[in-house]
């Protein structure tokens, strides 16, 4: 019971897609500068990754590794087409701002690498649950990063001006993304190890509660 619950939530907290596995960091660094970008990328990433991984799970396991990777990438690039079309209708300005990072979501590490090493070794229902939480892991980091960078870097929240005293415009630049993500990643690791230390110390209690 404990092991199954831990692995399902992994992607969100214990083994966060971005902060722990350092996957899909380019869009977070380059486009996680405001909430409107973040929402568009969250939508695209979630839709492309979910459907691509689900469809890719039907690819025969016995094929050579290279063939499977190419097929996953082809599936993702086909799934990208309707997602892109819908994004064009809902987020027309964002697509131009985000640039190459939109199509790059179609070949993200979750689809190309993680699916083969992790998802396709699980049974279908746990795989879907785990996939959802890995996607949510990226979504959460993207949203938090965009919120803080927009607030401190532009003095706005989702385009609405906030009475921010001091604006650090560098936070909206690529280097700001690198530094912010590095600090966020370190903070995440510190909190995670503190929580795990507490769980280990109170190990008997957590077993009783079935956590």
């Amino acid at each position: 019971m404990k092991n199954r619950k831990t692995s399902v939530f992994d992607g969100l907290v214990g083994d966060n897609t971005v902060l722990s596995s350092l996957m899909v960091i380019s869009p977070v660094i380059m486009c996680g500068t405001d909430i409107s970008n973040a929402i568009a990328l969250i939508y695209a990433f979630s839709a492309i990754t979910f459907f691509s991984v689900i469809l890719g799970s039907f690819v025969p396991k016995k094929l050579p590794y290279a063939a499977k990777i190419i097929i996953y990438a082809v599936i993702a690039s086909l799934v990208y087409i309707p997602v892109r079309t819908a994004a064009g209708m809902f987020f027309p300005e964002v697509i131009g701002r985000v640039g190459i990072y939109f199509p790059l979501l179609a070949v993200n590490s979750l689809i190309i690498v993680q699916s083969e090493t992790k998802f396709y070794r699980m049974k279908r229902l746990p795989m879907i649950a785990s996939l959802v939480f890995y996607i949510l892991g990226f979504d959460a980091v993207m949203l938090i990063t965009a919120f803080i960078r927009e607030l401190l870097g532009s003095g706005t929240i989702n385009g609405r001006v906030v009475d921010a005293d001091t604006i650090i415009s560098g936070l909206g630049m690529p280097f700001g993304g690198f530094i912010f993500l590095g600090l966020f990643c370190g903070l995440y690791r510190a909190v995670r190890s503190a929580v795990r230390r507490e769980e280990n110390e109170g190990g008997g209690d957590s077993d009783v509660h079935g956590n």
Partner: protein, 334 residues
């Protein structure tokens, strides 16, 4: 170890004395506002250092007071009437993101002052490069009245300046307050070099590269003027003492440090000549950090090889001694 700890503290004391002297000069030209700015920087750095050391579960020792010298260096690079909040943010950035995240003073990678300056440069460039005129005293809570471009900016654009040598020596011209007092900086350089508180190789390399290139490819109207102004303007002398020749960052061996300073300064001079960017030596010192680390890795590699050779020689000597003892023992038996 005890000697090493002592010398680190004495280095810090030497540097602090020179920085306080520059701070005094800044007070003379710009009044109490500049002192308060320095205090804000020191306060922010100390607070950041205390909190981050606490989080790292390390004790705050006297050696950790290097954050104070870094803060003063930052304050001396900023316009005297600079915004306190931004200065404080930059100092916190220097301590946390450029130093303590990498392990603090035990594992220095970047010069914290250079990192803070570049951080302000990229986020608040227009505020950073406008200065009050000398002898303009701004109130502690007032905003600066009229701000002007620095003399470095004029030199970079026009190639000449109408500043007398006396004014140049006294620092009676627009620019970063710590970087314009040429006489004080020269004295500070001599003192710190003789006290071995800064890297002689890096300092000499920086100054000689700037002087050489300024002579060969003059930035000014005359070669002599070009050499004079190239060293004095664009924070070259200041950066050569407090950033490039910082013992924590520069390579340890003299010739490595010389080449590091030389190529850095050469790059900065050519870049300034072609782009007319102000104070580019500080920006380039950050870009050249991997070069400094590369030299340090090479030094470590050489030390390891020498240690191995010394160990094998010692082993050889021991074996020879054992052989001699065995031979003597055999001879005695006979």
């Amino acid at each position: 170890m005890q000697t090493k700890i002592k010398s680190e503290r004495f280095i810090w004391i030497d540097i602090m004395i020179t920085l306080l002297t520059l701070e005094l000069m800044e007070y003379f030209y710009y009044g109490i506002r500049s002192v308060v700015l320095g205090c804000v920087c020191v306060g922010a750095s100390l607070a950041a250092e205390l909190i981050s050391l606490r989080l790292m579960k390390r004790k705050f020792t006297a050696d950790d007071l290097t954050c104070v010298s870094d803060a003063l260096i930052i304050a001396l690079m900023l316009p005297a009437a600079f915004d306190y909040k931004i200065a404080a943010i930059a100092c916190v950035f220097a301590v946390v993101a450029a130093k303590n995240v990498f392990g603090g003073r035990l594992n220095m990678i970047f010069s914290p002052a250079a990192a803070a300056y570049v951080f302000i440069y990229t986020s608040w460039k227009s505020l950073l490069l406008m200065y009050p005129e000398p002898h303009t005293h701004t109130g502690i809570f007032e905003k600066a009245g009229s701000l002007v471009s620095s003399a470095s900016h004029s030199f970079n654009i026009n190639g000449k300046l109408s500043i007398s040598d006396f004014e140049l020596l006294m620092g009676n011209f627009c620019g970063p307050p710590g970087a314009v007092s040429v006489l004080l900086l020269s004295v500070a350089a001599i003192v710190l070099l003789f006290r071995r508180s800064i890297s002689a190789g890096a300092f000499i390399g920086t100054v000689s590269a700037t002087a050489l290139l300024a002579y060969i490819v003059p930035a000014g109207v005359t070669k002599a003027g070009s050499v004079k102004y190239s060293i004095v303007m664009n924070m070259v002398l200041f950066a050569a003492i407090y950033i490039i020749a910082d013992r924590r960052v520069a390579p340890k061996r003299g010739y490595f440090a010389f080449f590091y300073g030389f190529f850095l300064a050469a790059f900065a001079y050519i870049y300034t000549l072609t782009s007319a960017k102000e104070n580019s030596i500080v920006l380039i010192s950050l870009v050249f950090t991997p070069a400094a680390l590369g030299f340090k890795n090479l030094e470590k590699h050489i030390e390891n090889i020498r240690a191995e050779e010394a160990a094998s020689e010692l082993l050889q000597a021991q074996e020879n001694a054992d052989d001699t003892v065995t031979e003597e023992a055999a001879a005695d038996e006979e």
